[in-house]
Amino acid sequence: MSIEVKGLTHIYSEGTVFEHIAIEDVNFTVGPHDFIGIIGHTGSGKSTMIQHINRLLKPTRGTVVVNGIDINGKDVTMRDIVKRVGIVFQYPEYQLFEETVYKDVSYGPKNLGYDDEKTEFLVKQSIETVGLDYEKVRDMSPFDLSGGQKRRVAIAGVVAMKPQILILDEPASGLDPAGRREIFRMIKTMNTDLGICILLVSHSMDDVAEYCDKVMVFSEGHMVRFGTPGEVFADSEYLESISLEVPQSKQVLEMLKKRGIDIDTSPYTSGMVAEEILRRFKK
């Protein structure tokens, strides 16, 4: 399942005094099993962009093609799209509404018109995918769960629809470090084991560097960079100029370099950085 975005432009309230260009001329292609990180300063157009991929917003200009189908085509229904593209918004636990976890997670599959048997299978599978005990939580009220568990149930609600593309907007915000790590590992597993294409919006450069194969950088409505984390994080001065930064572990290398220590500053994950430091100082 690939995504091709061409000339995507979105202008809010075009032709009025409130006109505001949210994104302009965005072009990219994403492969079927990619893990893409999307970074950018608040208001850079990331959220507007991702909402075009399942037609929550319609482009002012440009096209969005998912798996060869122009999703803004006349014959394409919303159901066709949400079957393939799932979006987990920021703080998704605020969308929980049912009496039991089972009922809430089954909301999506039921909307897709699946029968009870298939629904139950999907619910069970997705609850296990997000790392919860199905038998234990299925009849609990989602409002009685802890914050991290609520978040997982909400993500399961989207995963249960079996999307081949999953877009997550800051899935770990507000969680403690252990919770963050678990959420990211779970997403990584969905990518590697289930082959789901992931688009991850994040403000944490370290997380993006750690988990993503490729990184998109947004600034003032434009996609200004698209490449591997190595390429994108190579230019720390540029990132700073658009109010971003390189991962903290990489900053350590850059500081060492500034002090005149001969060290390679290209590693960007904490593991790679640790190795480089060891290599340099073991000599």
Partner: protein
């Protein structure tokens, strides 16, 4: 649709209307509305319209912005006009099949339309040129003058200012939840009325949950800053009448007298 409601919104300019005391504006608007219902004929509406138009020009607020507030009530307006037009008994002046328009109906529809339009424009103009804090302070001061209500004046005005403050927050929240449920295949547009009503549950439940949460957090934050109602509470900006307010009252009284006088002009 919630975004179209301009009542309660403030549009800052440096006009004479903005500088008036909130109480002056509140009382004048109230009196204006009462007089709208005393109008008997087209001359009265004309007079009321002219007065409002002058106020709008004085407020320096773009006319389009004031009219935007009317968008939200277009439906109710059309509905009442149509009901009055077709279902008032009297002398038939036009008919087609079962539909008929009577002279009385036409008059009634015209009256209702103008009354509603002027009423809503006047109130939205008042809120557009009065910021929320002065508005609720003004309300509180006025309520203090009314027996029985006096005891609750502060609480009522505080509730009102909080409600106004939360309109945009809740409308953003609604949009967010709607988008999330749409991504889960929710369909709000098709099906009969019962299906559509049911489709709203996944929006209303999370909306209520978060509204209650917000309310409890707000209460906590207020108590943490030692809020305990009106008792011993002082104001940063005290309300006080200036010369401009006295002049404004005089003008309003004259204008209202003018509107009253139109009752004695024969209708065309």
């Amino acid at each position: 649709m919630i975004k179209d409601i301009t009542i309660g919104q403030y549009y800052p300019t440096d006009s004479v209307l903005h500088r008036l005391d909130a109480r002056t504006k509140l009382l004048s608007t109230l009196a204006y509305i009462i007089f709208l219902f005393l109008v008997k004929n087209v001359w009265g509406y004309l007079a009321a319209f002219v007065f409002l138009a002058v106020c709008m020009i004085l407020s320096k607020i773009p006319i389009g912005y004031v009219l935007r507030g009317l968008k939200a009530v277009v439906f109710i307006l059309c509905l009442t006009v149509l009901i009055n037009l077709f279902f008032t008994p009297g002398d038939v002046i036009w008919s087609y099949g079962v539909m008929k328009i009577t002279e009385q109906g036409a008059r009634m529809a015209f009256n209702v339309a103008f009354r509603l339009l002027l009423l809503i424009s006047a109130t939205s103009l008042m809120t557009l040129c009065t910021d929320t804090i002065s508005l609720t302070d003004g309300m509180e001061e006025l309520m203090r003058k009314v027996p029985l209500v006096r005891r609750y004046a502060h609480e009522l005005s505080m509730m009102m200012s909080i409600a106004l403050r939360f309109i945009p927050t809740l409308s953003d929240e609604t949009e967010r939840i709607m988008k999330a449920q749409k991504s889960r295949g929710a369909d709000f547009e098709s099906g009969n009325i019962i299906r559509r009503a049911k489709a709203l549950i996944p929006i209303l439940v999370p909306l209520f949950v978060s509204a209650f949460q917000r309310a409890s957090e707000l209460a906590m934050a207020m108590e943490a800053r030692c809020y305990r109602g009106a008792e011993g509470r002082t104001r940063l900006k005290e309300l006080h009448y200036s010369k401009a307010d006295i002049v404004a009252y005089c003008i309003v009284i004259l204008a209202l007298a003018g509107i009253w006088a139109t009752r004695y002009i024969p209708a065309p």
